[in-house]
Point group: C2
């Protein structure tokens, strides 16, 4: 295991009706004027926004609002949010929504206290300071409610980049699985895929002797394999959602990623797809992962076989472990299909003609130097080959 | 899953040589005068204490020392530590050692800022305020490096009680698996048992639909089953110790215990053994758990069978699941024996004649009202029956 530090100081509040305590927690964590940042109409229509405002008002906490966050959140709204916070003297940013709203809120929180362009953080500057951030989660997926990360799409060029730093860890996050009950099934399935992708990115490592993290990742994956289809079939299944919601947080706050090299090439490969075609991040990941796995299996067949046996329940072929590894990849594909996820360019609406451009941007865009991935270093040719496996 | 809150703001620093950064972290977390609190001579002999002092001095941080913490730490030294801190104006308590040193340090940290007797916290008063605490861990066992808990033995009557509260979460904890290399094998085995016991106490629950936590607990147990014997055979096996050390923290910071009823009767039953016979806590737990399991299996055979299949790799007997459950308990016993742990009163040096007295204290001592345990409510007769199964 490699040396590491781990710091996850977010206060998690989990369960039914907890959004009605928002005001109490904002007060506890020092907010006096809050930006409520959210996406589309469902937060309004469901009455959630009103409940949150009532809870703030009960504690005498002032607030302003900025809705309109899109999936794959854009830089334009971030600039708008920064201006609004500065003008209104906001000292606390509350995201109500999923990963997009939370990531946009994080970008705003960092931008408000920074003299330069907030995009600097998405070009690699570590985030060391930001307004306190809190979240009320409405979909299990991105894990941003517990992570130090944020992903934003730069409208000037339509590329998607991530920023990171301890100041991006939320002060508190409210996780009420009942809030996901009205989501479309497709979105729930995308979320499930995203959570599993966060686990795969950490699972594929070159670091040796990492049993404890392997076992925890496998435990979370087994949970997703059992509970995922239940939630995708019925988003109002509270018990399934509750399991998934905690797994989604654990999958990405890095409890289950410490002390090892991680991969993350699949996220880079997917980001090109969702930046160009504006597909759901989860749908893109469902398409990318089996291809990435098939292409990179050769680097550590034993690890792929271990995943196949321990998570997918495949029989170990001791004479031909590569067969077991392949069976695991097929099991992942079948799982994705079973919850309605795409696994090919055609289903995703992606085009073969864009492959070279996407591989170029994935490997060289915005300061990158020609390779991506920690488990296997992939160059542009490798990335093109992986895209082609999705045809 | 039940509603819950989870807050683990400890900054974990994991890996080789990290104790040399102690001063830097004490500074970061606001300490200017430190009590270094530790146990016996090994911390001194190994040179660890000198390295820690050098690191503090490098950052200009003043310090005083109090050694002499015993296994099953006593109230007497806590009173001494509180007086010393008050006299010297200490503002930060640093434990160097295992659970005993850490728990004693926590008691001191709470006592210094409290007007009454620190023992009030061990009679049930929640700990809401304490000096900042940090730890340098020298044995994987108690999990106190990441937990909000502390257990102290009251010398006036020799009973062992726990206190809890968010103020008991360390500000930072340094986990260097190399520091355990010189431990006696028996102590390593006791630590392994303690970690597994923390997982069992959380595993046995009456709460339904808790797959995610079940799976994480099982993942940590599987890690212990694989890595435990390697570390018990060779405490200098860094890789095995590294896996165990992170598992030990995760086993008890409650990441893997949220949203469910937990049991903890076995700890209460064990505390009587170590309070009277001064046996190692881990050795006591190795003796108690199979007996507790055999006695309580009837309350949820499916859960015991699940543990047997998923962790011990037992074959499921679908017609007679109780046979699978029993096989799991036998597997635990065999595991304990294999790492040199006792599983009977005789091996532990305990006496049948004390059973009634121990059961009485376990169920009624110090404010308890006749039953213990969350999974199965046990009265004095039940506890006596469990002790008798250890004969």
């Amino acid at each position: 295991m490699d040396n590491f530090t781990f710091y996850s100081p977010t206060y998690f509040v989990f369960g039914k009706d907890e959004e009605n305590n928002t005001g109490k927690y904002v007060k506890r964590f020092g907010g006096s004027k809050v930006l409520i940042h959210y996406g589309g109409g469902s937060v309004v229509r469901s009455g959630l926004l009103d409940r949150v405002k009532a809870s703030l008002e009960k504690e005498g906490i002032a607030h302003v609002e900025l809705g309109g966050v899109m999936p794959n959140p854009r830089s334009g709204l971030v600039y708008e949010g920064i201006d609004l916070c500065k003008k209104e003297g906001v000292d606390f940013v509350l995201a109500v929504g999923g990963g997009s709203s939370i990531d946009s809120a994080k970008a705003i929180a960092a931008g408000v206290v920074y003299d330069g362009d907030f995009w600097d953080f998405y070009k690699g500057k570590p985030v060391t300071e930001a307004l306190p951030i809190a979240t009320i989660l409405t979909i299990s997926a991105a894990g941003s409610e517990g992570s130090p990360d944020s992903v934003i799409t730069q409208e000037d060029g339509m590329y998607k980049r991530g920023a990171s730093g301890e100041a991006f860890r939320p002060a508190f996050s409210i996780l009420n699985p009942a809030l996901t009950a009205t989501l479309p099934k497709y979105q729930v399935a995308c979320g499930i895929t995203d959570i599993m992708a966060h686990l795969f990115e950490r699972y594929f490592t070159t670091t040796k002797e990492v049993e404890v993290i392997d076992r925890m990742i496998e435990g979370l994956l087994l949970t997703m394999v059992k509970e995922g289809p239940l939630a995708a079939a019925d988003p109002a299944n509270y018990d399934a959602e509750a399991n998934i919601m905690w797994a989604g947080m654990m999958a990405h706050n890095n409890s289950c990623g410490v002390g090892r090299v991680q991969d993350w090439a699949s996220h880079d490969i997917e980001h090109e797809l969702s930046a160009i075609y504006d597909c759901a991040h989860g749908a893109g990941l469902a398409t990318v992962f089996p291809a990435w796995m098939a292409y990179n299996m050769k680097h550590d067949v034993a690890r792929f076989a271990q995943l196949a046996v321990r998570v997918w329940g495949c029989e170990m072929d001791f004479q031909h472990p590569e067969n077991t590894a392949k069976a695991g990849i097929e099991a992942l594909k079948a799982f994705s299909k079973s919850i309605g996820m795409p696994t090919s360019f055609a289903e995703l609406g992606a085009k073969e003609a864009d492959i070279e451009k996407m591989a170029e941007t994935a490997c060289y865009g915005d300061g990158r130097e020609g390779t991506i991935g920690g488990f296997a270093k992939l160059n542009k040719d490798d990335v093109m080959a992986i895209y082609k496996l999705m045809l």
